[in-house]
Every structure is written in structure tokens, then in C-alpha cells.
């Protein structure tokens, strides 16, 4: 995990002020409320947040996969090497999907078509982007890919159906499908959430290897801080449809500069410390009528009058860190906001 500084190289992907709404029976849900983030070539960016924070929707929006209706992308630019993916032609977008940018979904059982063989589905990824690739050549390449991701008996497995694979193997197959065309950017949406704990480690290992081999940048959506610690170079924390903090992984874990991040870190159960389990009080915000000012203020131990009235901007703190908190400086010394016990040394 290398620390990347603010290089002079332009970012591979740049999301600027993305706004996405969903029309529901109960009202308009503001799922993504002005999110901006960048990803540089080859780096692994983890996007963390609870359910409903807008992280998945943000990821889906990159490739234009938000179902419309009920979703509507209202504003923002999504720049891939300067090309705005929101305004490109359908044909161009299809060229990019699966080739420049590839996606790995959360539940491989439902993400794969149950009546088409796994091999054919991976081959589809190849042949959609190479018209001249024949069936036999595609098959050879797919078997090679399956071997690369660690699926045993790849030749036989080619002709099998998703329900004949185990959960971990299915996810491996999905990864194979994603890296088939050597993408520059991988988006992994909670890739290990649907898997057994024992399999999770294996798949994470595979992701790390895949990333290293292909040198692809990766956006890793997760709510699991353990995964973040394992893989990420940089972390983006989301809450209530907005980015609330951004930092390199080590600085973030060592010194969070947003109360929500602090709460997240504090609520991770630790076997080496005694004490009660800590949780962030309150419940996730109502995204139809979000709280005024800072979305986190109803649950924030540091909240003050200004937080209720004034929505904090995402401020640059230097050293590649950003935070959207009026009182981020108070966290700079590392005060224990949420712990019920003394901060361990």
C-alpha cells in the first residue's frame, strides 16, 4: 500500500458534484447530494459508509447503470480522462463498459444469468468488445482467465452453470469477467459482503493480485473497515449522500478528521481492548427530508448551532486530506469522541 501524494498527473476518473434522486412512493429520495471524488491511475480508493449513504448509487452512476425510472441523475460530471460519461453517445458508453471500466457486483448468484453457462457469460464480455474474436479463441481465453483467478478444473467449469459454482468461485468468475478486457478502472461494489467470512479473505487476496497484475485503478465500495485496512490506498467516507471525509488510509485510521469517521472507527469491535461496544447513537438520516445544515448533526457529539444552520463544505486540509466539518480542527489532536473507555495508548 503506497501512499500517493497529490501528483501532477491528471486523475483517471473525476466525479464532479454528482446529484442523483430516486422517486419513491414516500417521496423523492436524495440519494447522492453533490458528491465529488477523484481516482488516479493504479490507486485503490475505498468508499465507505452505511447503507443508504449513497455509495452504491455513486458507483452505479459512473457507468450509467442507475435505473431510470425511478432514479434520475440530476447534475454533475463524470470525467474519464476528460471525457464526460454523462454526455457521451450510447455507443461510446457501451465501448467503455466492460473494457475501460469494469464492475464487480455484490451478489454473484443473482448477478449471473442462471440459464447461460459461466464460460459463455465471460466470453460475452470478451466478444462484445472484439467483434473478430471467434468462439474457439474466446473459449481458450476464458479458460485462461478462470485459471488466473484460481478456479480449479477450468476447462470443465467453462460449460457449467452458475448454480454449480460455490459462492466464492462465482465471485472469482465475476472477477475474471471484469478483468477480461484489461480495464483501467475496476469498480467493486461490496464484493465480499455476500460471502462467508472464510471465503472473504481469499477473494480479497484475489482482488489485490488482480489489481497488481492489471495495474487498474479500483473503487472499492464497502462498509467493512477491515476490508479498507487490507486493500485501500485512499479512503472516501460518505454520509447522507455526501462526502464527509477523504484521506490516505493510514492517516484516516490514525487521526480521523470528521466525527462520523471517528464514530465508525470507534465502533469496530476490538478483541485487544476491554470495554463496552460503542455505537453511533441515532439512526441513518431520512434521505427524503434530510436534516438541515450538516447531515450528521442529529447524531454528532460535537454538534453546535452552526451545524444545524450551515452545511459544511468539503474543505482541503492539506496532505491530500479533506473534511466536511466546521470543527474539524478540534479533531486534529485526536480527542476520543465516542469511546466509553480511555483511548488505548
Amino acid at each position: 500500500m503506497t501512499e500517493r501524494s497529490e501528483g501532477t498527473e491528471p486523475p483517471l476518473l473525476s466525479i464532479e458534484n454528482l446529484v442523483v434522486d430516486f422517486a419513491t412512493d414516500d417521496g423523492l429520495v436524495h440519494a447522492v447530494d453533490g458528491v465529488s471524488l477523484t481516482v488516479r491511475a493504479g490507486e485503490i480508493v475505498a468508499v465507505v459508509g452505511e447503507s443508504g449513504s449513497g455509495k452504491s448509487v455513486t458507483a452505479m452512476s459512473i457507468l450509467g447503470l442507475v435505473r431510470t425510472p425511478p432514479g434520475v441523475v440530476r447534475d454533475g460530471r463524470i470525467l474519464l480522462r476528460g471525457e464526460d460519461l454523462r454526455t457521451v453517445t450510447g455507443e461510446r458508453l457501451r465501448e467503455i463498459r466492460g473494457a475501460d471500466i469494469a464492475m464487480i457486483f455484490q451478489d454473484p448468484m443473482t448477478a449471473l444469468n442462471p440459464v447461460i453457462t459461466v464460460g459463455q457469460q465471460i466470453a460475452e464480455a470478451l466478444r462484445l468488445h472484439d467483434r473478430d474474436l471467434g468462439k474457439a479463441a474466446a473459449r481458450t481465453r476464458v479458460v485462461e482467465l478462470l485459471r488466473m483467478v484460481g478456479v480449479p478444473d477450468a476447462e470443465t467449469r467453462y460449460g457449467q452453470y452458475p448454480h454449480e459454482f460455490s459462492g466464492g468461485m462465482r465471485q472469482r468468475a465475476m472477477i475474471a469477467m471484469a478483468i477480461a478486457n484489461d480495464p483501467d478502472l475496476l469498480i467493486a461494489d461490496e464484493p465480499t459482503t455476500a460471502l462467508d467470512v472464510t471465503i472473504q479473505a481469499q477473494v480479497l487476496d484475489l482482488l489485490r493480485t488482480a489489481q497488481r497484475e492489471t495495474q487498474a485503478a479500483t473503487i472499492l465500495i464497502t462498509h467493512d473497515l477491515g476490508v479498507v485496512a487490507e486493500l485501500a490506498d485512499r479512503v472516501v467516507v460518505m454520509y447522507g449522500g455526501r462526502v464527509v471525509e477523504e484521506a490516505g488510509v493510514r492517516p484516516l485510521f490514525a487521526r480521523p478528521r470528521h466525527p462520523y469517521t471517528a464514530g465508525l472507527l470507534a465502533s469496530v469491535p476490538r478483541a485487544d481492548l476491554d470495554g463496552e461496544l460503542v455505537s453511533i447513537p441515532g439512526s441513518p438520516p431520512n434521505m427524503i427530508e434530510p436534516p438541515s445544515g450538516c447531515a450528521f448533526h442529529p447524531r454528532c457529539p460535537m454538534a453546535r448551532e452552526r451545524c444545524v444552520e450551515d452545511r459544511p463544505e468539503l474543505r482541503d486540509l492539506g496532505d491530500g486530506r479533506r473534511s466536511a466539518c466546521h470543527f474539524t480542527d478540534e479533531l486534529a489532536e485526536g480527542s476520543a469522541l465516542f469511546s466509553a473507555e480511555e483511548a488505548a495508548g
Binding site: 463498459r97 469494469a102 457486483f105 443473482t110 448477478a111 447461460i116 460475452e124 464480455a125 468488445h129 454449480e164
Partner: protein, 319 residues
């Protein structure tokens, strides 16, 4: 796959036997002497009392009911359905000569219903909740709600009475037979049968497609760069076909019921029309024979549905 099919086969055969038991019970409920149903009329009329008694013994009618059932069933399975009470001819030959027209009508009708239902259902699903969808749903609702015989009467009014374009009865014109004439006679009955059944199928196709279109694997295919058309055709269409085809196969007996009505309105010389006229004439042999044919159809359609299901869904094939 073998185990699944075998199990379904056994269950279907068992059900078939149960149905024959019920039918046999009806044979005995029928007023009159069962002998009359099982012996050709000429033999019956010319035979003496002794002859009839001997016949009764030969047919096992003095034996316990179970054995009678067995005799009757064995005969039936060999194609002996007894003899018509109105004209003494064998029921098998009567029904046999009517089988062709009924199959012709049912087959064409089924084809037409699917030709109407599939495009409508698919388009309605793709353009869900738009005006196209509402229009298609209205059409299907009309098809399901308006009785087929009333649709037939209106069609006859329009195409035979008001604008004398098509014949409204019979299967052909004896004075001018030929392919064109046969087709002209087939058009109205088959069309009405098709339209009347299309509503139910269309709703099935639509809901099946909507379910598949909302599936996660659709998003995966899109994420790979597939065109909308490819996603719909290669992925969702195939998946939504499974439940629809199975439903169509299992629904064949209901198709026959529709044919019965249409045959009656259009005086189409099929099995259905024969059955209806037999009711009026109290020709129990023919009615029972008809019931047996329907029981066989239930058996066949159920098996067909099971086989189709395993052929099309790989999850079952290997389970």
C-alpha cells in the same frame, strides 16, 4: 433429469387413473343399461334376451365393480369406447373422424394466440407504465373478460352479415371444396379462439418479462457493454420464456374447452360439437368417450409441461 421426469411421470399416471375412476363412476350413474353403451345397436336390437344376458356376462357386468372398472379401462385403452346410443357406431370412430378438425382448430387458434400475446406482452413489459402498456393491458383485459361466444357472434355480424366476407359455419363448402375454401372457413373460428385466449397469455408474458428485466444479471450484462437489444433478446427473453411455455403446455385442456365453444358457434365438425349435441341426445357413450379423451389430454399436457420445464431450465435439468 431422469429422476425428476420419472417421478412426475408416475404422479401423472396416478392422477390419470384417478380421473378414469371418476369417469367410470359416471358410467354407472348414467340412467339406462350400461349394456346399451357397450354393444353395437344392431346386435342389441336383433339379439334375444338370452343373447343380451350372455353379452352382459361376457362384458363382466355381473361382476364386482372393481373388475368391471378394470375391464372397461382395458377396453378403453385398446381403443374400445363402446357404441353410440344414437346411431350405434363405435364411439372411437365417431370421435376419430372429429379429431382432425378439432386439432386443426386448436392448433391454429393456439398459434394465433401466441402470435398476438408475445409481441404485445414483450412490448408492454419494455414500455411499462406508458400508454402503450396501458393499451395492451386493456386489450388483454378485454380478451379475458368478454366471453368467446359473444366475440364470435359479433365477428359473425361484422364479417358475414354486414360485410359478407367470410363463412360463419362449417369446415368447407361441399360444392366448391379446396384449400382456399378451407382456409376461408378456418379464419373466423381460429381467429376468435386465438383472440379469446391471447389475453391470459399476454399477461403472463408481460409479468414474466418484467420480472426478468428487473433481475440483477441484466445490470451485469449492461455493465459489460451489451446493447439494450442484446440484453432483452439474449438474456431476458430466454429466461421469461420458461414459465410461459410451461403454462401454455399445462393449459392445453383449457384450450380444448375454448374449442368446444367455438365449434358450437361456428358449427365446426369437431369433437366439441359432437359432445354438445350428444348431451341433448343423451348419448352417454359418446360423452364418456369424450371425457376419456380429455383425461388423456390432461395427462399429456401435464407431462409436456414437465418435459419442457426440464429442457429449458438448466437448474432443474441437473437437480
Amino acid at each position: 433429469m431422469g429422476a425428476y421426469i420419472t417421478r412426475r411421470l408416475l404422479i401423472n399416471v396416478l392422477v390419470f387413473f384417478l380421473i378414469t375412476v371418476v369417469i367410470f363412476w359416471l358410467v354407472h350413474k348414467a340412467p339406462g343399461d350400461p349394456v346399451a353403451m357397450m354393444v353395437p345397436a344392431d346386435q342389441l336390437n336383433s339379439g334375444s334376451a338370452a343373447f343380451i344376458a350372455a353379452k352382459r356376462h361376457e362384458l363382466g357386468l355381473d361382476q364386482p365393480l372393481i373388475l368391471q372398472y378394470w375391464h372397461w379401462l382395458v377396453n378403453a385403452l385398446h381403443g374400445d369406447f363402446g357404441y353410440s346410443l344414437t346411431n350405434g357406431r363405435s364411439v372411437t370412430s365417431l370421435l376419430g373422424e372429429r379429431l382432425g378438425p378439432t386439432i386443426e382448430l386448436m392448433g391454429t387458434g393456439l398459434l394465433l394466440s401466441l402470435v398476438i400475446a408475445f409481441p404485445l406482452g414483450i412490448v408492454a413489459a419494455l414500455r411499462r407504465n406508458t400508454r402503450v402498456d396501458y393499451a395492451a393491458t386493456m386489450v388483454s383485459l378485454g380478451s379475458v373478460s368478454i366471453p368467446a361466444f359473444f366475440m364470435a357472434l359479433i365477428a359473425i355480424y361484422v364479417f358475414t352479415v354486414r360485410f359478407p366476407l367470410l363463412p360463419s359455419s362449417g369446415i368447407s363448402d361441399p360444392s366448391a371444396p379446396g384449400l382456399a375454401d378451407s382456409l376461408r372457413h378456418l379464419v373466423l373460428p381460429a381467429l376468435i379462439l386465438g383472440v379469446a385466449n391471447s389475453g391470459a397469455y399476454m399477461r403472463y408474458v408481460r409479468s414474466s418479462m418484467i420480472t426478468e428485466l428487473g433481475a440483477d444479471y441484466v445490470r451485469t450484462a449492461e455493465a459489460k457493454g451489451a446493447t439494450r437489444r442484446r440484453v432483452v433478446v439474449r438474456h431476458t427473453l430466454r429466461n421469461s420464456l420458461i414459465p410461459v411455455l410451461t403454462y401454455v403446455a399445462a393449459n392445453l385442456p383449457q384450450q380444448l374447452a375454448g374449442a368446444v365453444v367455438i365449434e358450437q358457434v361456428f358449427a365446426w365438425p369437431g369433437m366439441g360439437q359432437l359432445a354438445i349435441s350428444s348431451v341433448g341426445r343423451h348419448d352417454y357413450s359418446v360423452i364418456i368417450g369424450f371425457a376419456l379423451i380429455v383425461a388423456v389430454l390432461v395427462l399429456i399436457s401435464s407431462l409436456l409441461a414437465d418435459i419442457l420445464y426440464t429442457l429449458v431450465d438448466p437448474r432443474v435439468r441437473l437437480g
